[in-house]
């Protein structure tokens, strides 16, 4: 059996999830030059928000097709509240501080959020099962697509399209572009930059929550640590694609996901490389790829080379 098409699909699915989370990193960085390391945990609380709706709000045995939109909304609300709260209380007071300060705050916040879910969410000390969409997998030629993955395949491009429309066509979106280019001048032009920054955090959180629901459907579980590694990968995807560029985030995610799938599948078949090809090496190859891209294209795949801001 030729497994290449299946491996490409595996990578595409994994990458789409990285991409959804990477959007949050890239938008926040693009506007306030802050690497929001707590974004992985915003993704995680989004997953728990969605789960809470299913477990504690909806009556038992609610049809998944009824539950799913409500769970999405619940996840998004929780993630957005946490993200906006973090912006207001953890990052805004530090906006003029040296760049290292908000970075450290972000790491602290990330730990605090993990521990909060661990300590206070019922049964969250080990994995909690997430509701599943029933129905068999879809077979297209030699490729199998799981029912749970269909959500991801549909949600990722739709999210991107809505985001692109929002940033390019709406007033707020153009305000975001202006703030990203030069916050001081944008302010002088009458743009409420504080509001724009809040919108950037909220949008990032929205996509992270969509990603978290996709994660729950794909793997059938959520746990308090799910945001840590995935957040790091999404950040890597954002850098790979060119941090600050929303299309870059999605592209970076997909490239990273495909690289992981292909390295697992094929590196061990190269003579002399047998011991470097297993899945436990996938992260290594993902980072080798990142280093190579940054060596030859420091701005990332879709990033623009910009002069340092004065």
């Amino acid at each position: 059996m030729n497994e290449l098409p299946q491996q490409l699909v595996n990578g595409l699915l994994l990458g789409s999830m990285y991409g959804l989370v990477a959007i949050g990193y890239t938008m926040v960085y693009g506007i306030v030059q802050l690497i929001n390391f707590a974004h992985g945990e915003i993704f995680m609380v989004g997953g728990f928000g969605a789960l809470t709706i299913y477990l504690y709000v909806l009556p038992d045995g609610t049809n998944i097709w009824v539950a799913l939109p409500l769970m999405l909304i619940g996840g998004i609300i929780v993630a957005v509240l946490v993200a906006v709260g973090a912006e207001r209380f953890a990052y805004r007071p530090l906006r003029t501080a040296p760049r290292l300060a908000p970075l450290i705050t972000a790491i602290g916040l990330s730990l605090a959020l993990q521990q909060a879910v661990w300590a206070w969410y019922p049964d969250a000390r080990s994995a909690i099962t997430f509701p599943q969409i029933h129905g068999g997998p879809f077979e297209i030629g030699s490729v199998t697509i799981q029912t749970g993955d269909v959500f991801l395949l549909v949600a990722a491009p739709i999210s991107m399209a809505i985001l692109a429309y929002f940033v390019m066509k709406t007033r707020t979106g153009r305000g975001m572009q202006a703030t990203a280019q030069d916050p001081d001048t944008a302010k002088l032009m009458g743009i409420n930059t504080d509001r724009i920054i809040v919108v950037a955090f909220a949008l990032g959180a929205t996509f992270a929550a969509i990603g978290a629901v996709a994660y729950g459907l794909k793997y059938g579980e959520v746990q308090f640590r799910m945001g840590f590694i995935l957040g790091l990968k999404a950040f890597t995807a954002a850098v790979l694609g060119g941090i600050g560029n929303i299309y870059g985030a999605m592209l970076g995610g997909v490239v990273l996901g495909v690289a992981e799938a292909l390295s697992t599948a094929y590196i061990s078949e190269i003579p002399g490389m047998e011991q470097f090809g297993s899945q436990s090496w996938a992260n290594v190859w993902a980072f080798v790829l990142l280093i190579l891209v940054l060596l030859f294209r420091p701005q990332g795949l879709l990033g623009e080379r910009v002069a340092d801001r004065a």
């Binding site: 491996q7 003029t96 300060a101 916040l109 605090a112 521990q115 080990s126 997998p137 992981e260 799938a261």
Partner: protein, 409 residues
């Protein structure tokens, strides 16, 4: 002004994070009552009480607690009150080592039950051995822990204070291989492990026996236990044409792995060791996990007449968590410590000698009693003399014993 608010916020967050951690650890302290007067002996418990493996860890903690309570109620050792102190190792060797140091520093601790993970045990053995503090693991199965790093060629005991009530992977891996090849009639296996001490060791002993029997290994993989996405591996399993998968590792990865392999279209069973023998495996593997197999140490606890009382007492004690795979072994481990303490105290006019730890460790070698899991005693390496194993299969959402026996090389 800016600087001050920065400091304030960082401090607030740090304090917040620490408080939360503290909240979590508060309820991990032992639950036994500390009344009765006389001598108090603490039995330490080291296990993962939080995180992915906490289901197994909490089962260990509760079972040790039950043993201590039972000994107190029966006044099993005259003048001695047992209490437990449980520390969380989060399945991390570094945390295990810190816990070991803490136990050594507490003079009341005369024995420790744990840990769950072989890799954690590796980091604790020397600390305990230097202090002559006895450690009895209910769950470690890596042969090197008792028989030295070269156990395949020349066996040599490295640490005199380390004992275990579980059988080793040198027996468990081959036992699984014989079942898979002879009873389940599977000839082509895909072997996966998580590169950890336990998982890799188990996969290696399985593979050696499976090939010796005439089976074929059609592929091998090592997975990263930090991730949940095994789709690429599942696709490799499918295209390899294997009719069974052997996984050396633990249930947090084994569950999703089993599920993703079946989802990829390879409708073949996943077989693992005692590390996947948990109700959580079934939860994570989902409906498609039916038919998956696990070997575990000993006979099924529920079937042993000696265990009926344990199961009844455990239920009566009202623990929130199940005793899981190692409950019986944990109870027996704790009871072995209690027996050793009893013989030391009784041999010393009802008092603890000055070198109580060394004496207890010495007494452990000669301990022999009928425990929950059968006869409990230790050979010259500190291994359990009871070498029974059982194969379990997932049916109707529960583990069912398929075959019990003793491996004979």
């Amino acid at each position: 002004m800016r600087q001050r608010s920065l400091i304030a916020i960082t401090a607030a967050l740090a304090a917040g994070a620490l408080t939360l951690t503290a909240c979590g650890s508060r309820d991990e302290d032992g639950g036994s009552s500390n009344g009765g007067g006389g001598i108090t002996v603490t039995i330490g418990v080291d296990a993962p009480l939080t995180g992915d493996l906490s289901a197994l860890g909490l089962g260990i903690k509760n079972s040790v607690d039950l043993a201590a309570k039972t000994a107190n109620k029966e006044k099993y050792v005259e003048g001695v009150t047992f209490k437990i102190e449980a520390l969380d190792d989060q399945a991390q060797p570094s945390a295990g080592q810190q816990n070991a140091t803490k136990f050594v520093a507490d003079k009341e601790v005369l024995g420790v039950v744990g840990p769950l993970n072989s890799s954690v045990a590796e980091s604790m053995q020397k600390v305990f051995d230097d202090a002559k503090l006895v450690e009895v693991s209910p769950a470690n199965t890596n042969p090197a822990l008792t028989q030295g790093p070269d156990w395949q060629t020349s066996k040599a005991r490295t640490y005199k204070s380390y004992f275990r009530t579980a059988t080793t992977d040198a027996i468990q891996g081959p036992f699984a291989a014989q079942y898979v090849y002879n009873d389940a009639k599977k000839k082509k296996v895909f072997v996966i492990d998580d590169k950890k001490t336990y998982g890799a060791g188990l996969a290696a002993t399985f593979s050696a026996e499976f090939e010796k029997l005439g089976g074929e290994i059609v592929g091998t993989e090592h997975i990263d236990p930090e991730t949940k996405d095994f789709s690429a591996v599942a696709t490799k399993v499918k295209s390899s044409g294997a009719d069974v998968v052997y996984y050396g590792g633990e249930y947090p990865q084994a569950g999703p792995l089993s599920k993703q392999i079946k989802a990829a279209g390879a409708k073949i069973p996943l077989v693992g060791g005692d590390g996947i023998y948990s109700a959580d495996f079934i939860k994570l593997a989902g409906a498609s996990g039916t038919g998956d197999l696990a070997t575990s140490v000993g006979a099924p606890v529920e079937d042993l007449p000696s265990a009926k009382e344990f199961v009844a007492n455990y239920e009566a004690a009202g623990y929130k968590e199940a005793y899981e795979a190692y409950g019986g072994y944990s109870y027996d481990s704790a009871w072995a410590i209690i027996e050793a303490v009893k013989s030391v105290v009784e041999g010393n006019d009802g008092k603890l000698p000055d070198d109580a730890r060394a004496k207890v460790t010495e007494a452990m070698q000669g301990v022999s009693f009928d425990g929950v899991t059968g006869k409990v005693s230790f050979d010259e390496f500190g291994d359990a003399t009871n070498k029974q194993l059982t194969v379990y299969s997932v049916e109707n959402g529960a583990w069912n014993a398929a075959k019990s026996g003793t491996y004979t090389g």
